[in-house]
């Protein structure tokens, strides 16, 4: 059992003033009973950790957050064993890998190869153990023949790669990190991230300090906030451990018809004693998924959507990443305070808009978006399809100050739409104008939908995105543009599939019934229509 338990952990840094650090003051003080230099004889101590009590168990992923100087780094140093607590108790069981300073011990005059042994020894490895790892380290650092040159000839990127490769070369029970380790250029950093992720996945305990709330939320299940050396709060993070995850999935699958219906067990199945679909079905879904190695980590876990075993490579293309970042950095205030650049995790949604726009780009007709806000989707779309080159006109309709109160129905008001609008939207017209400055094809129309739709002359529409949060203008917009949509034109409804926004679905479905089409509900909560 690996664990870390702290009881009343205190760390005090003595601050030696110039006078105190010299022996003179000590001698003088002892001779005068400390009275003569009463102002100078006091050793001032800074209490970096002030009586911490915590218990970290196997499986925990601990995120330490707080302002600079709150004690995060000190706590990590204490856990790493570099600092001994001034008082209190600390029990640690498990092999610790400290990623706090991965280049300590590297000797600039020694070759890369020699440094593997130097740094390895400092990390507590025996030469024979390093012999086993050295090949992996060399190939991971990918320095070619440079590995035989003194590392003073390395660029800082190469230096970092070597340090990273050595420090992450062996598994550990407990991993300590001050900010997520990353290294090198973009190709290396992807590789590096992969490596550190698998190291962390294999560890029993992770303790990480970071200033990135997003990172902490993603990778930790317990978030401790430190202030002035004390833990002031603990909140659960978004990280779900493997066993927990399995339990969750198990829970889902045992609730439905996939649960055990026959006496045959998984062993029978594995031995080939029984091999037919019925028996196959009889095995609990979670075990089948596991057997087929389908239960890994979620490939996507954002925005109330978790997917397992689905490829999400499309998030990784530089083209999409750049487009997505542009939209996310549009200055929106949804689920984040003003000025924040936290990624609120809309990748899949935005990817669907981008895909639809890319598809519609080849069709005749304009692009329309009703409900732009700061342009999270539409900025991404503009960049993704390179709108300046494609010469498309993109009409962006919005009040640019949230949902108009008079359009909200009783039902929607009760569901909290107005409050939500006030929390997430703000008067942003000037800002959005600036956001789209470099896309002359994007035209902002300020005003309520549907009234504002008639103020401009739009003949044909190839791409229609509607996301206004309430039923009335969404349905009106769809009605208004339906006849203008060219055959094959595509519609993305932002809020259609979200259960809490059922009023939208009801309204749209009514229209769909009239016009005899069906809306595809996507797992992201969006609705998709291709007009035929």
């Amino acid at each position: 059992m690996h664990q870390i338990i702290a009881k009343n952990l205190v760390v005090e840094y003595p601050i030696f003033e110039w006078g105190d650090r010299s022996i003179r003051s000590s001698i003088v003080n002892s001779a005068t009973g400390g009275k003569l230099l009463s102002s100078g004889n006091k050793t001032i101590a800074v209490r970096a950790l002030d009586g911490l009590d915590f218990s970290i168990q196997e499986g925990d992923r601990i995120g330490l957050v707080g302002h600079n100087g709150c004690g995060k780094s000190t706590l990590l140093k204490v856990l790493a064993g570099a600092l001994q607590p001034s008082s209190g108790e600390l029990f640690i069981s498990g092999k610790i890998a400290s990623m706090l300073s991965i280049s300590v011990g590297l000797d600039s005059e020694a070759t890369g190869y020699e440094n593997i042994y130097i740094r390895g020894a400092i990390m507590g490895l025996k030469p024979a153990e390093i012999d086993i790892l050295v090949e992996d380290i060399c190939s991971f650092a990918d320095l070619g023949d440079y590995i035989n040159l003194p590392i003073r000839t390395y660029s800082s990127g190469m230096w970092m790669r070597l340090a990273f490769a050595i420090s992450t070369s062996m598994p550990a029970d407990i991993i300590l990190m001050d900010e997520w380790l990353s290294a090198g250029d973009s190709t290396f950093s992807t590789k590096a991230n992969h490596r550190i992720q698998s190291l962390v996945d294999g560890a029993k305990i992770l303790v990480i300090a970071s200033h990135s709330p997003d990172l902490i939320r993603r990778s930790c299940n317990r978030i401790l906030r430190l202030e002035h050396g004390r833990i002031v709060s603990e909140v659960p993070g978004g990280y779900i451990s493997r066993p927990q995850k399995k339990a969750q999935v198990k829970n889902i699958f045992t609730k439905d018809s996939h649960s055990i219906t026959s006496e045959s067990s998984l062993e029978d199945y594995e031995e080939g004693a029984v091999d037919n679909w019925e028996v196959n079905r009889a095995i609990p879904m979670v075990e089948r998924l596991e057997k087929w190695a389908l239960l890994g980590d979620p490939s996507y876990d954002e925005n109330a959507l978790t997917s397992w075993s689905k490829s999400v490579d499309f998030f990784q293309t530089p083209k999409f990443k750049s487009a997505y970042k542009r939209g996310m950095n549009s200055g929106h205030q949804i689920l984040r305070p003003r000025g924040s650049t936290i990624d609120i995790g809309l990748n899949w949604r935005v990817a669907i808009c981008c895909w639809a726009a890319e598809y519609a780009k080849k069709l005749e007709g304009d692009f329309v978006e009703c409900g732009t806000n700061t342009g999270i989707d539409s900025l991404a779309v503009c960049e993704y399809i390179d709108i300046n080159k494609s010469k498309k006109t993109f009409w962006l309709f919005d009040t640019f100050e949230g949902i108009p109160a008079e359009q909200i129905s009783e039902e929607e008001l009760a569901a909290g739409r107005l409050a939500e609008s006030k929390a997430n939207y703000f008067s942003c017209f000037e800002m959005v104008k600036n956001n789209f400055k470099s896309f002359p094809g994007a035209i902002l129309i300020r005003g309520t939908v549907p009234e504002s739709l008639k103020t401009v002359n739009i003949e044909k529409v190839a791409y229609l995105a509607i996301d206004m949060g309430i039923a009335y203008p969404e349905k009106a917009a769809l009605e208004y543009f339906w006849n203008k949509l060219i055959p094959g034109g595509i519609v993305v409804l932002g809020g259609y599939g979200w259960a809490p926004y059922r009023s939208i679905k009801n309204a749209i479905d009514k229209f769909a019934a009239e016009k005899n089409f069906e809306v595809m509900t996507l797992p992201t909560g969006q609705g998709l229509i291709v007009k035929n």
Partner: protein, 268 residues
């Protein structure tokens, strides 16, 4: 769960020293590295030490021999051995002052026994001493001492010096980390001690005051190597004094190291 046991300060200190000594793949490497760092890209490397010491002895030996009007054949071997031993001892003492201060980068970031830094420094100085020992060997070929089995006792003498280097390293390393002035005091004391200790002069040159040299502990450390090697003599007083200092030093070191070991990281 053996890691969960709370250790007393004394147990931590003993564990530190034990783990330090057992880390024989770390401190010799770090010690070598320090020497290598100094002589990287130089062709003859650490042998510069041998050369510079040799040149110094080659010049100073005859000069002082002349000044003291002694027979150069006896004096030269005496001076060479004394001077090289003095370099060994004084380097250990002056290096001891910066043991922990210079390792701040390591100490504040990772968990390694503190004794490793001390052993590294001792090891480094032993290596340097071996390089300089070549000079002693050469000198002894030209001015052979009285050969007897007792000569070999000098090895025990060197080992005793190295043993003492360890506790001195811990004590001075801690003291200098806590009180930054001590280093300056030590540097001055070493300079003074060079002249006050029988190195360029012999204790018997003091005539009826020659007993005064016995009050200088450093004299005894020189004697336990110099006596057997050069004269095949065993100076019982010197061995006794060194023995007592060694035991006392280690006792003192255990006490001090137990009490202040955990503070070192905060001092540097």
């Amino acid at each position: 769960m053996k890691n969960n046991k709370i250790l007393s300060n004394m147990e931590y200190a003993i564990k530190d020293i034990k783990e330090g000594f057992l880390s024989i793949h770390i401190w010799p490497m770090l010690g070598w590295l320090e020497i290598k760092q100094r002589y990287r890209r130089s062709i003859i490397g650490p042998f510069w030490l041998t050369i510079s010491t040799g040149v110094m002895i080659g010049c100073m030996g005859p000069l002082y021999g002349r000044l003291f009007k002694t027979d150069i054949s006896g004096y030269f071997a005496y001076f060479s051995i004394s001077f090289i031993l003095w370099m060994f001892i004084s380097n250990i003492i002056s290096d001891s002052c910066t043991i922990f201060i210079n390792s701040a980068g390591y100490i504040q970031q990772m968990k390694m026994p503190f004794s490793i830094y001390v052993l590294k420094t001792v090891y480094k100085n032993i290596i340097i001493f071996f390089h300089n020992f070549i000079i002693i060997a050469v000198v002894l070929i030209f001015y052979p001492p009285l050969i007897s089995w007792i000569n070999l006792l000098f090895i025990v003498g060197v080992i005793l010096i190295a043993l003492n280097a360890f506790w001195v390293g811990i004590i001075l390393g801690m003291l200098c980390a806590r009180y930054r002035d001590i280093q300056q005091i030590v540097v001055n004391v070493i300079q003074l001690a060079f002249f006050m200790t029988p190195i360029i002069w012999r204790a018997d040159m003091l005539g009826k005051y020659s007993y005064a040299a016995n009050f200088n502990p450093l004299y005894h450390f020189l004697e336990i190597v110099r006596g057997p090697l050069l004269y095949g003599q065993v100076n019982a007083l010197s061995w006794g004094v060194v023995g007592i200092i060694t035991m006392g030093g280690y006792l003192f070191m255990f006490k001090a190291f137990s009490a202040y070991r955990s503070k070192i990281a905060y001092w540097i």
